[in-house]
């Protein structure tokens, strides 16, 4: 197993990290709206925590792409 990973080019680390972020993003999108807004009466768009999480994931993917 160690030899398999040692044989991979370094950019595969970025590919794996990006895939993990994408999977997390997909999971976030599927969170139900009721759950996301639980605990607040105000259902404004800015309070949608899925958007917060997606922005964070987007920033991360850009940073890992840059470096």
């Amino acid at each position: 197993m160690g030899d398999f990973f040692r044989g991979l080019p370094l950019y595969w680390a970025k590919v794996i990290a990006a895939l993990l972020y994408l999977l997390l993003g997909l999971w976030v999108i599927t969170r139900p709206r009721d759950f996301i807004f639980r605990g607040t009466e105000d259902k404004s768009r800015w309070r949608d925590l899925r958007l917060w999480a997606l922005v964070l994931i987007g920033i991360q993917i850009i940073l890992y792409f840059l470096f």
């Binding site: 964070l56 994931i57 991360q60 940073l63």
Partner: protein, 505 residues
Amino acid sequence: MKEVLAQHVDLFLIIVYLGAIFLFGVLFREYVKSTEDYFLAGRALPWWVIGMSIIGTNIGAYDYVGAAGGAYRFGIAQANYEWLGAIPAMIVSALVIIPYYWKNKVYTVPEYLGKRYKEAVRVIEAVIYGVFLVMLLGIFFWASGIMLHTYVGWSIGFSIVITAIVVGFYTISGGLAAVAITDVVQLGIMFVGGFAVAAVGFAKAGGVLKFFAALKAAHPQHLQVFLPLDNPAYPWLGMILGLGLVLSPAWWCANQSIIQRTLGARSEWDARAGMLFAAFPKTLIPILVVLPGFFALMFAPPGTIKNPDQALPWVVKNFLPPGIGGLVFVAFIAALHSSVDSTLNSAATLWTRDIYQRYIKRDASDRHYLLVGRILTFAFIVFGVIFAPFTEKFPGIYVAMQTLLSFFQGPTLATLLLGVLWWRATGWGGLVGLTSGVLLAVFLSVLKVNFLYVAWWSFVFSLVVNVVVSYLTPPEPPQKLRGLVYGYLEKDEDFKRAVERRING
């Protein structure tokens, strides 16, 4: 003359900071009437205070020095601790774990584990984290003493006592509310200091792009976020498996100092939003901790920095103009104080709720437990002040304690995740999984396995043992699991019958 004036400006900044922080204690004293006020800020914290307080607590003076040293040596790979090693776990904590803590109205993480599994799991977790937090205080006080002594010239003993009085006063009088609000101010100071360093550094290099171009030309590997598998400190696979999938979720989902702020939220939405909001400043932390390491690498004359941990002190002492240096120094002190106050409050919560209230005096009044919480906070301050000088005699104490904690991170995460996500995990599964995972972590550490892989394998082992033992033992009764496990209601026969009765009128 200029230097004397700058010294006066620095001293003025420090005294203004200490005075302002002291005032918070006076202002918040009248709001603390119960244990809920003291330990959980009366469950009234808004999301933005929670978010900023989480990051203020998370970043300590050790992180500044150590991370700048890591960046000096290994480059941007150090930022993994703030990015891959934090952001995904913070999202999972916000959207999966925190709702269960919040719904069950617990005060501590061990309290949740005790409800979900067994009392023994609660005791093991409470004692481990309770002892760790108290020992950490001595180290924080010593670091504060050294910093004030080096920069202002006060004696170490006097500096420790001043720190203990200021932080102790507002923590004892104002509880979590005072701690959280001061954390907000302290985080603001840290960022102002960090941006000032960045501005000075980039100006010296002739601009941001010029600086990074020069860095890339001189040290190309320093701009690679992932390093080869043979790197002794940050191998990429260890970063993804050990840091990204185990250590980081364990920290952001199960660390009492971090989670306690979300338990003090005014609503479940604020608790979750607070953790997500914290992830935004967390993304910017490399500006504070990685850039100084780069500046030391590029601007320090060759041979000046013998130990990478000297990178940041070199930047503060030789690189910054007078005045800005004082501001950055106040930022260090603020970082340290925000960690001390949170550690104090969390240690008092753990010892009062999970040990004293459970095993020493069970049915006392709320007033009694509030008094005990305050007395314990005071006792921990006294212990920290007395213990502080010993940390100098044993410089390995901090490293040893961090190693000790790393034995528990993987097994704790496995126990927590199965507890929240899998209804079939039983009390015995949790207890045996936790203890066997810890034993494996100790064994691997003795074999000198890299701590990132120790975390990963102890997590996997604990998970497997928990599953096997859970299948070998009878399932927990539904009434015990209600509200504690993700998606459990769909499997709850009583709940199904109640829904059917309602549908059928």
